[in-house]
């Protein structure tokens, strides 16, 4: 039984812009073990990016952030860490892959030396060893002719290739946790599959923990072991990929899965959509966030916030109504 590498507990995050304040994350908890891929799923505004990036201090400058709760990596608490210590942890324990590699990589810097720099700084390698490590990293992420690519600039490469570079860059310091924030969204469909395959492969070989943030159910199915479903800053459902995708319990999860077009079924099962819009997170009502759009909502749903109940090991759902139904069936 592998130990927990990354643990988020009761995370509450408020964002302050000049005119409005938002509770982006409202009591989220989940754990990730060594060698497993946890997918964080949700639509835009669900708080999936903020949950993972805010404790690391990686939100864009200019937004004031208020963090409460706990975020631990290998037992080390990240919240309230000072800037210097945090930047060290970022470099050594975490690797981050961002959404659009073309804009996430510095256009003025060659690709290879950045990798070597990471290896040198965080692993203490000599310049020569670092360069060799960088080239082998490029090779391991599936980049052909890595010796040549080492001296290239981002604008000289395609999107898919650049994403591999980003992954290589994230892996360079040999981190414990790899965070991939929508790694395939900006890529072509064929390339998406390749990247997900690459992530899977890396995880198997390096036994690294991957946090995969995505809104794409297909990616979850292809690359994740466990999945956490977020809606409006709260966890709706959690479980292994198999459990959640074959038997979704929370109405939001069900709606999410139903809205994925199923081409195998032909045109028979059309994609359905969840009616309504996500709530305005600057003005929030009590009770379940999903109540307005939920087909199963009852009076109590709008009044009391549903607890995240544990069904079995690692299987959690925050919907008393659905759980009650289920017990009735069983």
């Amino acid at each position: 039984m592998s130990e927990t590498v990354y643990a988020i507990n009761d995370l509450v995050i408020d964002l302050y812009a000049p005119t409005v304040s938002i509770r982006a994350v409202d009591g989220v908890s989940f754990h990730a073990k060594a060698g497993e891929t946890v997918a964080i799923v949700g639509e835009s505004g669900s708080g999936k990016t903020v949950t993972t990036l805010a404790p690391l201090g990686l939100l864009p400058e200019g937004v004031r952030v208020d963090l409460r709760g706990s975020a631990r990596v290998d037992g080390q608490e990240l919240i309230d860490m000072n800037a210097r210590a945090l930047s060290r942890v970022r470099g050594t324990a975490f690797g981050v892959v961002f959404q659009d590699p073309m804009s996430a990589l510095n256009p003025m810097l060659k690709v290879g030396p950045q990798l070597a720099e990471q290896a040198r700084r965080h692993r203490g390698l000599s310049a020569k060893d670092a360069r060799a490590a960088a080239i082998s990293l490029l090779a391991r992420t599936g980049i052909p002719d890595p010796e040549d690519r080492y001296n290239r600039y981002p604008h000289e490469m395609s999107g898919g290739m650049l994403q591999r570079v980003m992954i290589a860059l994230a892996l360079a310091p040999q981190p414990k946790v790899l965070i991939a924030d929508e790694p395939t969204t900006a890529l072509d469909a064929t390339v998406q599959a390749q990247i997900l395959e690459l992530l899977r492969d890396i995880q198997r070989r390096e036994q690294i923990t991957i946090i995969l943030i995505t809104h794409d159910i297909g990616a979850v199915a292809a690359a994740a072991d466990r999945v956490v479903v977020l809606y409006a800053g709260r966890v709706c459902e959690e479980g292994s990929v198999k459990q959640v995708l074959t038997e979704p319990i929370h109405p939001y999860t069900q709606g999410l899965l139903a809205s994925v077009p199923d081409f195998r079924a032909g045109a028979r099962r059309a994609a359905s959509e969840i009616p309504g819009l996500p709530p305005d997170q600057s003005r929030l009502a009590p009770g379940c966030r999903f109540a307005e759009r939920c087909p199963k909502a009852e009076e109590s749903c709008r009044v009391r916030r549903p607890d995240l109940e544990t069904l079995s090991e690692g299987r959690k759902v925050a919907c008393p109504v659905s759980l009650r139904e289920r017990k009735g069936h069983v």
Binding site: R84, V89, R90, V96, D100, S103, A104, M108, H155
Partner: protein, 312 residues
């Protein structure tokens, strides 16, 4: 990239020729008879019509304008700028003595402006809205608004008169360059520091800055290693523009500090209606500006990997 450069070079040369034609045309239109002035200088009151006519013939002043222009330009291209109406000496000699002075002044000033603006801009960006940032913004505003002759006067009052540390005129050694160079650098440094500051802010908001943080860099490192390279093109472009504007500063500073440079030669030429001298100096200016702009473009091409054509 070679083709790009050659084309730019060609345009630059064309610009020099066109500007020089404009200069020549304007000055040739000046009232006053050059031959008469020369005759007066040579023979005083004894200058008569015959003498003037002879001088006109010698200097080809009766030829049509385009011929005179080409004659002048072809001479200038080999370094013969004619004889100054004011001093009576060949202008090439004057230039030989004066260009180094102005070049030194611009060189020191340029270096100070370059370094100072980077320091101020970086400090402001590091402070990011804090006290240092706001103070530097105010300093830059004042620096960009203060006339350079006032700066010169203030510096002289402070350092030469009151403290007696530095000489207030002449070119008598490295210390005597300090006040002129600082005076000439203040305006460009102020303008450039704002360019640096604003561009750094924009760069820090771009995704690659977040990647920089994700790499484990501190904010200072992100500023220096990720953001700073990205402001190279706007910074260098503005620096080029400011550097050429420094010629005006040089004109004033050379006058205030009694430096015998090209700028003071120009002013003397204007004061004494030395048209030949004015013509020559303007040509020098044009060549300088066009060359400086060309070099800046060249450096930008070298610095920004995206502007270079791909290595195929």
């Amino acid at each position: 990239m070679q083709r790009l450069l050659l084309r730019r070079l060609g345009l630059a040369l064309l610009l020099i020729v066109a500007a020089s034609a404009l200069i020549f045309a304007i000055i040739a239109a000046a009232p006053g008879n050059v031959a008469a002035l020369i005759a007066e200088r040579a023979a005083g009151a004894g200058a008569d019509g015959a003498m003037i006519a002879r001088i006109e013939q010698e200097l080809g002043l009766n030829d049509p304008l385009p011929i005179r222009y080409l004659t002048w330009l072809s001479h200038a291209a080999v370094g013969d700028y004619g004889v100054s109406l004011r001093t009576g000496k060949p202008i090439a000699e004057e230039f030989a003595a004066r260009i180094p002075v102005t070049a030194t002044l611009l060189g020191f000033g340029g270096v100070i402006a370059f370094l100072l603006s980077l320091a101020m801009g970086l400090a402001g960006a590091a402070s990011n809205g804090g006290v240092v940032d706001r103070v530097l913004h105010a300093v830059a505003l004042i620096g960009a608004s203060t006339p350079n002759f006032f700066v010169a006067a203030l510096l002289v009052i402070a350092f030469a008169v009151t403290l007696g540390w530095l000489p207030s005129f002449g070119a008598s050694g490295p210390a005597s360059w300090i006040l002129p160079a600082v005076t000439i650098a203040l305006f460009p440094a102020s303008v450039l520091s704002r360019v640096v500051r604003v561009n750094l802010q924009e760069a820090m908001a771009r995704p690659f800055a977040t990647t920089g943080f994700a790499k484990g860099l501190t904010r200072g490192s992100v500023l220096l290693r990720e953001a700073l390279p990205n402001i190279a093109v706007p910074f260098l472009t503005t620096f080029g523009a400011q550097f050429t504007l420094m010629t005006i500063g040089a004109i004033v500073v050379e006058t205030v500090f009694a430096l015998r440079g090209v700028g003071s030669f120009f002013i003397d030429a204007i004061r004494f209606r030395d048209f030949i001298g004015m013509q020559a100096t303007l040509l020098l200016f044009v060549v300088f500006f066009v060359t400086a702009n060309f070099l800046v473009d060249l450096i930008c091409l070298l610095v920004d990997p995206r502007l270079r054509r791909g290595r195929n």
